[in-house]
Structures are given as structure tokens and as C-alpha cells.
């Protein structure tokens, strides 16, 4: 193992011209082959997760809609998140993993951010289809009011390990919440902490928080968004990424997403997972 920050450097390997790999492909190649490979994150309910051999979630359904619209078979490439989005784009879109060099044609759930796009010029981020926010799911009976995170000086709060929410809680109020934070190794573990009553609240994205509320059937839950001093973004649009030479594929898939948003299919899809759909705020 090399240090965590070293791994961002692997991005540079391709710049040194060593990126012979399974190619992410332009539109006509995808259509000709009859197959589209779509990357989604693992352990990322309600967007994407594996239930045994079955792939589930909102992003998985969106992938199926791509297949239906283009008339191609969908292959789901489901992997965990790496250190940051730059690593994810490298591994899943333009270079592939170290051993098998496998990439997808398109990656879902990519933050649409000019800085990220500028840093990763071998990928193109496009087609915003959802708006992400941070939120808490809280147990109404235990915490009838949560005006600030100060509420968690003395009440245990759950979060998925090594996520944006974890970084916020670990540094909030100069570390004063240290003794209250319970970290789940995976999002599923963090969900269990809340469902089982080990914590009074869980910090995640708003959609995740809403989904956790649907899982905790024994708890009276509500979603709150207290101020998060020091947080870098209050919300951000989510789109797709394709390889830099496959822009036409991005346009075609963007059209599918726009249609789903316009005809209300997207809203219904999110609602079927207990999540309120938010249009991207650009």
C-alpha cells in the first residue's frame, strides 16, 4: 500500500501514454455491438447496490432506460468508490483498473463541477439529471428539534466511514463531536446503526437519508437540514461521464435523461424508492 494521497498520481500514468485498455466507445460502436456498459457505485442505496446477484437502485433503473432507448443490452459494472472522483473517472472511464483494465462506456452519479471537469480532461462530465444535498435523518421521538449539529454533543450520530459527511462530523466544532460519531464501515452498516437504534440520527445525502427513513420502519423519522458550517457545497448537480472521444454517446444519453425528466418518469422513479426528486440546479 502506498499512501492515500499518492493514488491521485496514478492519474498521470495515462498522460505518460500507457493507456492501452478496453476502450470506452463512441455511440456508433456501442450501437453496432448491441451492448452498453454502465458504471454504478456499489453499496450506494438508494442509487445502486447489489442484492445477491441482482443490481438494484435508481441509477440501475436509469441504466435500463438507456438500454431500452438505444435498443442495446445493458452490462452493469458495479465497483466501490476510490479515494475521490478523479480516481473513479480514471478507473471506470478512461484508463481502467490496474489488473484487468476494464472500463465502462458511461458512469452515472458524477458531480457536475467545472473544477472537476477541468482536472480530468480525459473524461467529459455532462447531462445533469439530479440535485444532491446533504441531510440528516433523525428519530423524531428522541430528537424533536435539531436546530444545529450542537444537538449531537451528547446524542450519538451515525455516518458512513470516510465520506463527505464523516469529514464534516470529524472536524465540526473543532472536533467536539468526536465522542458522538459512530461510523459504519459501509453505507449498509451505517444504515443498520440507525435502523437498530444505535444512533439518534444519520448524516448522508438527502436522498440516502430519505431512503434510510423508509428502512427504519420502527422509528418515527424525519429529514432535517441544519446549517453545516465549513461545508464546501450545500448542493451540487449530478450527471454522467463518458470518455473524451465519446461525446456523441453523452449527447444521446443526455437526451434520454431529458426526456425522462420532462415526461415525469424520473420523478416517479425516485418516488418509487421513497426519494423526492430534485431537478438539477445549475
Amino acid at each position: 500500500m502506498y499512501p492515500t494521497i499518492l493514488r491521485s498520481f496514478f492519474a498521470l500514468l495515462c498522460a505518460l501514454a500507457l493507456c492501452v485498455s478496453a476502450q470506452a466507445r463512441p455511440l456508433d460502436e456501442v450501437i453496432d455491438s448491441g451492448e452498453l456498459t454502465v458504471f454504478v457505485y456499489s453499496d450506494y442505496a438508494p442509487y445502486s447496490w447489489a442484492d445477491g446477484d441482482e443490481h438494484k437502485g435508481i441509477d440501475v433503473e436509469i441504466a435500463k432506460a438507456f438500454g431500452k432507448s438505444l435498443g442495446v443490452k445493458i452490462n452493469i459494472l458495479m465497483r466501490g468508490a476510490d479515494e475521490n472522483i478523479d480516481d473513479d473517472l480514471r478507473i471506470n472511464i478512461w484508463k481502467g483498473d490496474l489488473i484487468h483494465r476494464k472500463v465502462a462506456d458511461v458512469m452515472l452519479h458524477v458531480p457536475v463541477d467545472k473544477l472537476v471537469n477541468a482536472r480530468n480532461d480525459l473524461a467529459v462530465i455532462t447531462a445533469p439529471y439530479f440535485q444532491e444535498q446533504m441531510a440528516l435523518v433523525v428519530d423524531n421521538d428522541v430528537l424533536p428539534t435539531v436546530e444545529t449539529f450542537g444537538r449531537f454533543l451528547n446524542n450519538p450520530i451515525g455516518v458512513e466511514l470516510d465520506t463527505a459527511g464523516d469529514f464534516f462530523l470529524s472536524s465540526a466544532f473543532r472536533g467536539q463531536l468526536h465522542n458522538s460519531v459512530r461510523r459504519g464501515r459501509t453505507f449498509a452498516d451505517a444504515t443498520d446503526l440507525y435502523v437498530n437504534g444505535d444512533v439518534t440520527a444519520l448524516l448522508a445525502s438527502k436522498a440516502q437519508a430519505e431512503w434510510v427513513a423508509t428502512q427504519a420502519k420502527d422509528r418515527q423519522s424525519r429529514i432535517v437540514q441544519p446549517p453545516m458550517p465549513g461545508i464546501v457545497r450545500n448542493g451540487w448537480p449530478i450527471g454522467i461521464a463518458i470518455k473524451h472521444d465519446s461525446r456523441d454517446l453523452g449527447y444521446a444519453l443526455g437526451d434520454v435523461l431529458t426526456e425522462m425528466i420532462n415526461n415525469g418518469e424520473m420523478k416517479a422513479l425516485y418516488m418509487s424508492y421513497g426519494v423526492k426528486y430534485l431537478e438539477p440546479d445549475l
Binding site: 500500500m1 502506498y2 499512501p3 492515500t4 494521497i5 499518492l6 498520481f9 496514478f10 498521470l12 500514468l13 498522460a15 505518460l16 457505485y41 450506494y44 442509487y47 465497483r79 466501490g80 468508490a81 476510490d82 479515494e83 475521490n84 472522483i85 478523479d86 478507473i91 483498473d97 490496474l98 489488473i99 484487468h100 476494464k102 452519479h109 458524477v110 458531480p111 473544477l115 472537476v116 444532491e132 446533504m134 466511514l161 470516510d162 465520506t163 463527505a164 459527511g165 469529514f167 464534516f168 470529524s170 472536524s171 472536533g175 468526536h178 465522542n179 460519531v181 459512530r182 461510523r183 464501515r185 445525502s205 458550517p229 465549513g230 461545508i231 464546501v232 457545497r233 451540487w236 449530478i238
Partner: protein, 592 residues
């Protein structure tokens, strides 16, 4: 020499006869491993002896005839998987056992350079090794050879055939665990020989651990987590807790503290202790985890009988620079002020060369082995760094206005004054030969990055050479005085191990592709050979049929080619390869 080695072999068979039934093949006994350094007709441990001194008493090749060292054969690792060869071969009974990148291993007939067998681990689809595809070597005992694979498994192969005898899991590759180090085999009274491994993984959420297994079955005998608060195990039951919960960690952060001992360990037959270095703490931002964060970025001495930590020494407490503490701890006896100290030395990522009392971990001395160290003003009399707070990376929260944060320049860079590549200690010159690099890093807070789809403040960095004309620096260090006796400067960063011999020589390889020999006393370059690709592995030497051989694995890669910025300029032109080269001095030239 032949007679002597025959007697050694006979002796060890006789010794083990009382304990085990004698097997017909030329087995490697645990006594052979313990005494590996003294016997020069074989290499049955990583480090040419479990202390890791990388000193061979062989003197047939010396300062005057090394110029006549010529290649005998070159063996290709073949296929497309050439990159990143960091392995040290083992030698037994005329056979070389060498591992390659992508979890492969070969047995080669040394007399002819022909392949006897090859083993390829089938690596699973879901595997995402955090770092690279390297392997650093194998271990050997009885009729089996052992090595770890990228999917965090340890495999025992039949040394004669390469067939799998057993295969066990060190960690879950899907959770980010991997394995690249050479396993360590140590003797114990209670369990017989044990095979020791650390673990490695790049994901936040791992806990560093040393595991001991039976070489016969691969079953775990004990485990020792290196992070405070975790329970060890012995014979399948909980043994003791490492340190005390929350003593040096806030909240529940000890549960995922990092500290992976990914480079493996060394063993000292004298004190009967195993020494493992531990990785840096998680998360990377040190402001999130106030405290010393034990035992990350440290050396721990473990009693192989029961897996208990006998002592620990933190080189970088509360690390904030990614200064892994994994570098090898080499046991040696040091004469100082008329006394013999049972010492051990380590050249840390953080740029300081430490001498400790290996019996109890007490600090003896520290001296910088690279120039312009900026993260600390020095090491105090207790061995603790005197931090320079101006050069600790800033807290990302302090720059939450969405702008690029304050930049600091820290020396060494997180790749270390010295990285994984092992140093050597000469019993002849009583000096350490340290493969080091002179570089620093700019560190700043990125205005925004995303992890698993969510925004946070990340860190940005770039590595910079300190000097215009070189980065790599092979140094001869006097451990008693902390004085640098000589230095060889290399344009590209050094990333290969060192070997020193009774012939008064020091060998090391360079990314430019040369295997070089130096005068151990003066640093004068006496010989070099171009292998055709970069060298990032550790050389060996042994005697066979009355002749002294030298071998090196070559194959550019590892972490080195991944650097950007100014460092890339000196390595970007280097070509791939993947092979073993074997050398000797032709008989007719040996005495010239």
C-alpha cells in the same frame, strides 16, 4: 567453501531429525533460515538472513576483479506483464525462486537459466489493488515456497512442481486489502516455525495487523493488530488488547486507524523478536485525529511465541505528511564508547536514520540522511520529533471559503527520504548503505473534491526535487556517529534495494537500468551493466559450484513512473522490461 556448506546442511538435517521425520528432498530447515547470512551457498530468506542486513560474507568477487563481472543468462518474465519488478530471488540447491509483478512466480535452473515451472495466480475480476502490481519476494521452508498475491492471499507451492499446497486469505480484496511483501519465517518454541505477514490496503477503514500461520497448513496461530484498542488472538481465542482503547485516538477512530504493516518484517535470532514497521494513520487529515495515534508510523517488536508487542517506537507520532513507518528495522551490534549495543537501525520515510536498542526499543540516536528536512527541526533526546508547525499541512476547514488553501513545502516528500527499498549493513565496514531520495512536496487544500458522489475539501500536492541535477542518493552512514561517509548521486530517484559483500563492495540498481558496484569504503563506482530497463529490486549474491554469482531482477515500474511534475521529466523516457539477470566472473578472469 563447498565442504563447509556440506557440513552445514548435514548439521541441520541431523538437528531436525529429532523433531520431524526426515524427508528425502533437500529441504530448507528453520535453522538454515536463522543461519542464512553465514551460509553463502543459498539464500533462503528475504534480506540475506532474517535480520535483513543484506550482507554476504562472500569475497571471491572483490574490488579488483568486479570489473570482470559478466552476465551468464537473462530470463524473461514474458507476456505483457513486464512492469514493476521489485522482487528479491531466493536460491536453494541450484534453483532460483523468483516472484514477478501480477502475482507470478518462477523456479529457474541456475546452471542453465531454464525455467523449471511457473505459477500464475488467477486474479479475480473485482480486484482493485490500491497501489501497484508489484511483489517483493517469496519465503521458503521444508519443501514449500510461499508468497502473497495481489488479492490478499498467501499461497504455499510445492518447491519441486509449483503446484498449490494451500492458499489462505490475509484480507478481503473487495474491502481494499492487497499483499505485496515477502513473508517472514521465524522459529518458535511453542509452535515450531511460523510464517509471518503484515497486511496492506489502501482504503480507509483497514486496521494494520501482523498474522502468524503454520507453514504446514496455513492456519492462523496468532494475530496482532497494531492499532490501540483492538484485540489480538492466540490459538483461536482472544489474547490481549493492543495498548488501551482511546489512549491516543479520539472517539471511535481507532476502529479504522490504518497503520498497515505492508512491507513485512525482520527477525533477530539473538533477542528472538520480530520487527514490523507500520503505515501512516487514517484519515489523512491529522486535525481530525488529535493524539499520537499509536501504533501508526512506528516500529513494533513482537514476540513470535504469542504475538505480544514487546515494545513500540513511533518515528512520526500524529503523522500529517503520509510518512509511513514501514521501512525495515535491521538488527546489528554497534560498538560505541567501548561498549557493544544490541542495536537496530531504520531509515525512515521522514528522513531520519534511527538507532534503537533492539532489546527494549529505547532511543539511542537519530541523524538526518537527506538534506533540508523541513517537517521537523530535529529529534529530541527521547526520540520524539521537534515538529515545525509551520510545515504541517493546513486544516482544510480553515480554508472553507472555496479558495485554494495555504501551501506548505515539506521535506521529504511523502514518498520518503527512503521508501520501501531495503538498505544494507556491512559487517566489514560497519556502515549502512541507504538508497535515499532528495525531494520535497508542496501541499495545499483543494477548493473542492468529491468522494462517492459528495463534495468535501481535499488536499492537493506536487513533488519537487530539491536539487537541479539529481534526486537519487546512495549514502554510506556511520551508525555510531550519524556521519555520512560518502554519497553517490543519481539523476533519477533510487527505488531499488542494496547489497554489500565481504569483497568490500556495494551493489544497487538504478531506474536508468544500470546495476552498479561501488567500493564500500570510498563510494567509488567500480562497475556497471546496462540491463535494458529500470531496476527497482534488490540484488543478491551466492556461491554455486565454487563460483560467486550475482543476480538482479529488472523491470521498470512500481510507484516511480507515476510521479508527475518535475520528477516525471527524469523518468518518462524509461522503457518497460521484466527479467532476471545472473552474473559471474568467468573463471579465467577471477584472479586478474
Amino acid at each position: 567453501m563447498l565442504k563447509k556448506s556440506f557440513l552445514l546442511t548435514a548439521g541441520s538435517i541431523a538437528l531436525s531429525a529429532g523433531l520431524f521425520s526426515i524427508s528425502v528432498s533437500a529441504d530448507v530447515g528453520i535453522d538454515d533460515i536463522v543461519a542464512d547470512q553465514a551460509s553463502s551457498d543459498d539464500i533462503v530468506s528475504y534480506g540475506l538472513g532474517p535480520r535483513g542486513q543484506r550482507f554476504s560474507p562472500l569475497s571471491t568477487i572483490n574490488k579488483s576483479n568486479v570489473k570482470n563481472l559478466f552476465p551468464v543468462w537473462s530470463f524473461s518474465f514474458g507476456g505483457e506483464k513486464q512492469r514493476g519488478q521489485e522482487s528479491q530471488p531466493l536460491i536453494k540447491d541450484g534453483v532460483m525462486y523468483v516472484t514477478g509483478s501480477y502475482s507470478r512466480m518462477w523456479a529457474i535452473d541456475i546452471a542453465t537459466g531454464e525455467e523449471l515451472w511457473q505459477y500464475d495466480a488467477r486474479l479475480p475480476e473485482g480486484i482493485l489493488p490500491c497501489c501497484d502490481v508489484v511483489n517483493r519476494g517469496a519465503a521458503i521452508l521444508g519443501d514449500k515456497v510461499f508468497f502473497g498475491t495481489l488479492d490478499a492471499k498467501i499461497v504455499a507451492l510445492d518447491a519441486k512442481t509449483g503446484n498449490v499446497v494451500w492458499r489462505k486469505t490475509i484480507g478481503d480484496f473487495e474491502a481494499g486489502y492487497s499483499y505485496t511483501a515477502a513473508p517472514l519465517i521465524v522459529p518458535t518454541e511453542a509452535h515450531g516455525p511460523l510464517i509471518l505477514t503484515g497486511n496492506s490496503g489502501g482504503e480507509f477503514g483497514i486496521v494494520g495487523e501482523v498474522q502468524a500461520r503454520s507453514p504446514e497448513t496455513g492456519d492462523i496461530v496468532w494475530t496482532r493488530p497494531v492499532i490501540e484498542g483492538h484485540m489480538g488472538t492466540l490459538n483461536g481465542e482472544e489474547s490481549t488488547m493492543t495498548g488501551a482503547k482511546n489512549e491516543s485516538w479520539p472517539g471511535d477512530m481507532w476502529q479504522n486507524g490504518g497503520g498497515a504493516p505492508w512491507l513485512g518484517g525482520t527477525y533477530d535470532p539473538d533477542t528472538k523478536l520480530a520487527f514490523f514497521g507500520t503505515g501512516n494513520p487514517a484519515p489523512w487529515n491529522s486535525y481530525l485525529r488529535p493524539g499520537d495515534n499509536k501504533w501508526t508510523s512506528a516500529r513494533v517488536a513482537i514476540d513470535p511465541e504469542n504475538g505480544e508487542i514487546v515494545w513500540g517506537f513511533q518515528t512520526t507520532p500524529h503523522d500529517g505528511w503520509d510518512y509511513d513507518g514501514v521501512n525495515e528495522f535491521v538488527s546489528f551490534d554497534m560498538e560505541k564508547d567501548g561498549e557493544t549495543i544490541k542495536a537496530g537501525a531504520t531509515a525512515d520515510r521522514n528522513g531520519f536514520f534511527y538507532v534503537l536498542d533492539r532489546t527494549n526499543g529505547e532511543f539511542v540516536s537519530a541523524a538526518p540522511f537527506v538534506q533540508n528536512i523541513s517537517w521537523a527541526k530535529g529529534i529530541d533526546e527521547t526520540g520524539r520529533p521537534i515538529f515545525d508547525d509551520a510545515n504541517r499541512p493546513g486544516d482544510p476547514v480553515e480554508s472553507a471559503d472555496g479558495k485554494k488553501g495555504k501551501s506548505i513545502f515539506a521535506v521529504p516528500s511523502f514518498l520518503g527520504g527512503k521508501n520501501w527499498m531495503p538498505m544494507a549493513y556491512s559487517q566489514q565496514t560497519e556502515m549502512f548503505y541507504i538508497p535515499s531520495n532528495e525531494w520535497g512536496m508542496d501541499l495545499w487544500n483543494e477548493p473542492v473534491t468529491y468522494k462517492k458522489g459528495a463534495a468535501y475539501l481535499g488536499a492537493g500536492f506536487t513533488i519537487k526535487p530539491i536539487f537541479d541535477d539529481y534526486i537519487g542518493s546512495l549514502k554510506a552512514m556511520d551508525p555510531a556517529t550519524g556521519e555520512i561517509r560518502w554519497e553517490y548521486k543519481n539523476k533519477a530517484p533510487l527505488w531499488g534495494g542494496v547489497l554489500t559483500t565481504g569483497g568490500g563492495l556495494v551493489f544497487t540498481g538504478t531506474p536508468e537500468g544500470f546495476l552498479k558496484a561501488f567500493d564500500a569504503e570510498t563510494g567509488e563506482e567500480l562497475w556497471k551493466f546496462q540491463t535494458g530497463t529500470g531496476i527497482v529490486s534488490s540484488p543478491i549474491t551466492w556461491e554455486q559450484d565454487g563460483e560467486q554469482w550475482v543476480a538482479i531482477v529488472t523491470g521498470w515500474g512500481g510507484a516511480v513512473p507515476l510521479w508527475g511534475g518535475e520528477v516525471a521529466k527524469v523518468v518518462s523516457y524509461l522503457n518497460q522490461g521484466g527479467s532476471v539477470w545472473a552474473f559471474k566472473v568467468p573463471e579465467q578472469l577471477a584472479n586478474r
